[in-house]
């Protein structure tokens, strides 16, 4: 018996790279269910002024990752993913800018944040995908679990963040070459 066609499931990965020299650069990669790239959006490096640093204080990181950079990339994205994964807790805020559920990949976040525990994330449930733990807002967890069942081929949720960083590096090298010319 043939399977009835199902709508295509895609998965997005979002991260922001911070460098003392270049600033904050965000990247959003949308992959097919088999892990192939469908779309890539990235920002040019963002450099907050001293005034921003003073006045935003400790909320600057939240603002850049969860609002300024993330919101723009989501807005520009033509192939909004069925599920958006991030490796920075601040990015969970993006759920207010898009219809897709946003999930924190615990193992990817733990590199910078240390162990992610239930106590640290009230209001979030967890589910598993490709050997990783996803932290998802309670009200979205059912829909994420349904999406997860349709991504059996996806082998890994950590590696795509490396792809984004490689792509950001390449874009920055290209910009530097253009400017030098």
């Amino acid at each position: 018996m043939s399977r009835s066609p199902e709508p295509e499931v895609t998965i997005g990965f979002y991260t922001v790279d911070q460098s003392e020299f270049t600033g904050w650069t965000g990247g959003l990669l949308v992959l097919s269910a088999s892990g192939r790239p469908l779309e890539f959006q990235c920002t040019l490096p963002v450099r907050p002024s001293r005034a921003h640093e003073i006045l935003y204080g400790p909320t600057l990181r939240d603002y850049l990752i969860g609002d300024a950079i993330g919101a723009l990339l989501v807005k520009r994205c033509r192939n909004l993913p069925s599920l958006l994964c991030c490796n920075q807790p601040e990015a969970l805020q993006l759920e207010s800018y898009c219809d897709s559920p946003v999930a924190l990949v615990s193992e990817a976040a733990e590199k910078d944040e240390g162990p992610i525990t239930d106590e640290m994330m009230p209001g979030y449930e967890w589910c598993e995908l490709a050997g990783s733990t996803l932290r998802v807002a309670i009200e979205r967890v059912d829909s994420v679990r349904e999406i997860v069942t349709r991504l059996p081929n996806l082998p890994d949720l950590l590696e795509p963040f490396d792809r984004i960083r490689e792509a950001i590096n390449e874009a920055q090298k290209q910009i530097a070459r253009v400017r030098a010319a």
Binding site: A33, S34, T43, H52, A68, P152, N153, R163, A167
Partner: protein, 587 residues
Amino acid sequence: MNHDLTVDIDPSMSLCGDSLVPRDSVPIVISEIELRSIPIKLQAIEVKAIGYQFPRSGGGIRIFRGGAGEDAVKPYSQPEALKPFDADAARQAATKARERIRNGKLTRIKPPADVVKLEDRLFYLLQPPLELLVGSEQLQFPFEPFPYQLDGIAFLFPRYAAVLADEMGLGKTMQAISTIRLLLCSGEVRNVLLICPKPLVSNWLREFSVWAPEIPVAAIEGNSPTRQWQWTSPDIAVKIANYELLMRDRDSVLDADQHFDLVVLDEAQRIKNQKNATSLIVREISRTRSWALTGTPVENSPDDLVGIFEFLSPGYLKTDMPLASIAKATRDHMLRRTKDMVMNDMPPKLYRDADLDLTPEQRATYEKAESEGVVQLENLDEQLTIHHVFELVLRLKQICNFDPASGSSAKLERLVADMEEVAASGHKAIVFSQWVNSIDQMRPSLERFGPLEYHGRVPHKQRDGILQQFKQDPTKHLILMSYGAGSVGLNLQFCRYVFLFDRWWNPAIEDQAINRAHRIGVAGSVTVTRMLMANTIEQRIAAVLNQKREMFDELFSDSASPRSVGMSREEIFGLFDIRSPKGRVAG
């Protein structure tokens, strides 16, 4: 005694009680604090973005079996090529892939230097690492590829002009097939033409069935109408043609409506001569991508490489370019690895130079032939050409194999003695000779080892059967091969011994011959016995071969100061200690 103290007080100069009480008020005016504001206007943080959408794997062959719609399209009309989707199997395969990438290095497809547009560069950079694809449910492989083979696939995938020049036996065929498979699956190419020497067509078909069983592939063969249909059939994703066929089917392959997304030349050294008919035809084939596969990109001089690049990218290399410039220009287009570089755990190749003395009969014949030959050469004086010298060389080499009058042969005596040991230990050997006549002469003495023959006089249709028999029949310990027929494309890694009964002019051809046995899958060390007659032309040729080997190493190293290469006319004439009448040999 009493003294009175009398003090006069000046009231105007003194404070008294009344003075402390102010008689009237003194107002102090305090001005109001003036409030001023300095506005700090915090501008919004400006964020600019760039973005690209990439083509979905749209029209190519679909071998991915994911549940998503993208991967559910079936390719062509080969339902048997697709297994029913099995989510559990997919999860298991994904788990294996995850373990692989978390435990080892990742092989990423890197954009070539000549891909300039950021969008194109990102397209390659953002592809999944090969470790995620290989062996997963998406892309089944019969064996786990070696890491260097994944590097080879990552090299070929993004390139429109590429030479895969790995040493024989490292799996160029597998790397090419796997990359073609990936390109077909991703929709990057749809129509591939692979051109190889005729004896290797069946080998390619076999390898496709192993490494890419779902890809529709066919050899262009049969009568003219059949071939005409095959050339134009859109159902054959990969067409395999042999070089000789191109001449006959020139009109079909060069038809104005015929275009290939990728043309692959196997044993691409066949087109090193830019002017031969084959080179001219392959250069005219309408195509988007061009790859060359060869274990010997340079057989005689760097000009060989120029010929190959005329197919890949016409005009990119020039014949008069310095060696260092050629090496630099080709670096991004060519990938060459040797077994020493990548196969640390491969059994060694043990060379044994058998320096033998001619039998008395051979010595007498040899010395007479050489002295008379040299006299003849000298008598030719200004008429002397290099062909005269070659004729003498060949005659002397044949005497080194067998005395023409008596049939006496020191090499054969040694070969028979060695084969006793090889056969007794249950092993198998390959014997290479330049001449089929020499093979005929050695066969009677080798009968007890069950010799098989594989050379130009053996019909093509029988050759596969002979190889199968050699592999499977335990009484067949020996196969006698000519360099021409047996040096390329054959997998004989079950042989542990190789005998070079005579030496070829070109070390690359010798390497190809040896690597029939010393290749991936070899069970143990391979012993290579190079027969060499002492104090003869063979010893002098061996010295020249060593020089050529040095030139080859130089071209494929990063050496900045190449030495002079090529064989001068003086060196060739010097084999007989006679003077060249015309100076240096061109090229």
